[in-house]
Amino acid sequence: MQLHGLSAHELAHGLAAREFSAREVVEDHLSHIKAVEDGVQAFLLTTPETACAEADAVDQARAAGEDLPPLAGVPVAHKDLFCTRGVRTTCGSRILEDFVPPYDATVVARCREARLPVLGKTNMDEFAMGSSTENSAFQVTGNPWDLERVPGGSSGGSAAAVAAGEAPFALGTDTGGSIRQPASLCGIVGMKPTYGRVSRYGVVAYASSLDQVGPFARNVTDCALLLGTIAGHDTMDATSVTDAPPDYVAEMRRGVDGLRAGLPKELFGEGIDPAVKSTILAAVDKLANLGIEIEEVEMPHVDYSLPCYYIIAPAECSSNLARYDGVRYGHRTAEPVSDIYDLFSKSRAEGFGPEVRLRIMLGTYTLSAGYYDAYYVKALKVRTLIKSDFDRAFEKYDVLLSPTSPTTAFKIGEKADDPLEMKLADICTIPVNLAGLPGMSVPCGFVEGLPVGMQIIGKPFGEPEMLRVAYGYEQAMGWERRRAAL
């Protein structure tokens, strides 16, 4: 029986009804991974033995009549940025090539408590820095819709795995668009929750004031289910909020009646491919037909998001990545060293890839004496202005709508040598991280056979309203039924 095409909620239903076993579900996904992975290369590592053992345990518990969590036996894949106890975690970097964490990230532990067998760890841009997954030190992931194109990034492996049917859903992280942009390019649903909604404990840090964990899925229901699995307070992350998350699936079904949406003019400006723009505007028309009240809104400071982000994220990264020193874990140079600083400097230069080295240099520079006020403090002030634009817009609207990515998937190698050009891939997603807001991407059509995603931005903790819009649209359109042919 072919099980890998089924969605997570269909799998959960079939498992509960004993139409098939968790072992069969996992084995079917593993054999599909084997069949398509040569082309897709979404996984850095698969964990077939433990996945089968976890599935067997679910089957035995079900046979014994034990109470099981609703998604028990539905497999998941994790971005290789999450610490997984006893399973190598590389962050796509040579510097952590042999790193085996002694503990689980909280999101990994929550998936384990929900009894989701883990299929493996997915490819990513090194330390989540990039928008195409080409910055991985290990392999290049192909977009399932066209293997010569990038899946987006940095969570490109998770997005490609879900789009290719290798996993029904997966987790990623989003610092400037790293869930939403690959979801858009791979034609699936991806959500960056509100900052603080999901614990970051055990998630290797890139830019701590922006990083957030979130789900990828092929439909809105599965996205809501996986969000519900990982959301909630964690004493191990001081930035996680204490109030309990709602039932996202119940919220999602409340319909779109009475919701108001704004279209930020600045996110439809130059730089957005005209065909992408018209696809988004068609989706907006559809939402208007469904009864959502829609207006254009001006958010003038949003235009400054990219330089603002490009100061803040590298500054935080230069501090976070100081821990890789060749002493406690990670790569240590084999060259002769004159002293401990020489050991640090050689180990780091050898272990980090070019984009990571550049961002560490940039962040160190903008934080250094004499430049701190001109760059870093300036960016933090502009961040306030950007956030105020959102605050004002949300006095009037429940959600904001825009393109997720200014273009469809680009060719592998097309932007690889130009970090500034690459960053333009994130112009619509970055402002959301700066303001700490939730955002999601939902499939809304195709341009020349390549998927286009619409971004839905919510108020702080406004995931329910976003999901209502996304689900209402999905029910009306059915884009999620169209799959990449592999």
Partner: protein, 96 residues
Amino acid sequence: MPEITEAEVRHVASLAKLALSEEELARVGRELNRILDYFAELQQLNTSEVPITSHALPLVNVYREDAVGESLSPDEATQNAPDGVDGYFRVPRIVE
């Protein structure tokens, strides 16, 4: 904004503890200058009266009781050390 000089790039590399080759120093210098040019846009905004935002959420310190809990054993804590001996990390001599 002034151009970043070669000497400054070397200084930043030493602060960042990155032993970069001559070629890499030149590449990074070029990239940094391009990126810093791009940052000039922000100077168009008058922010003299604007407070900073370091976090989007209003965060406060989180306190807890100082209670004994579980932690990693010395073996687990050092299992990934490139040069670990008997639960210690070995490094080059740091005091003469």
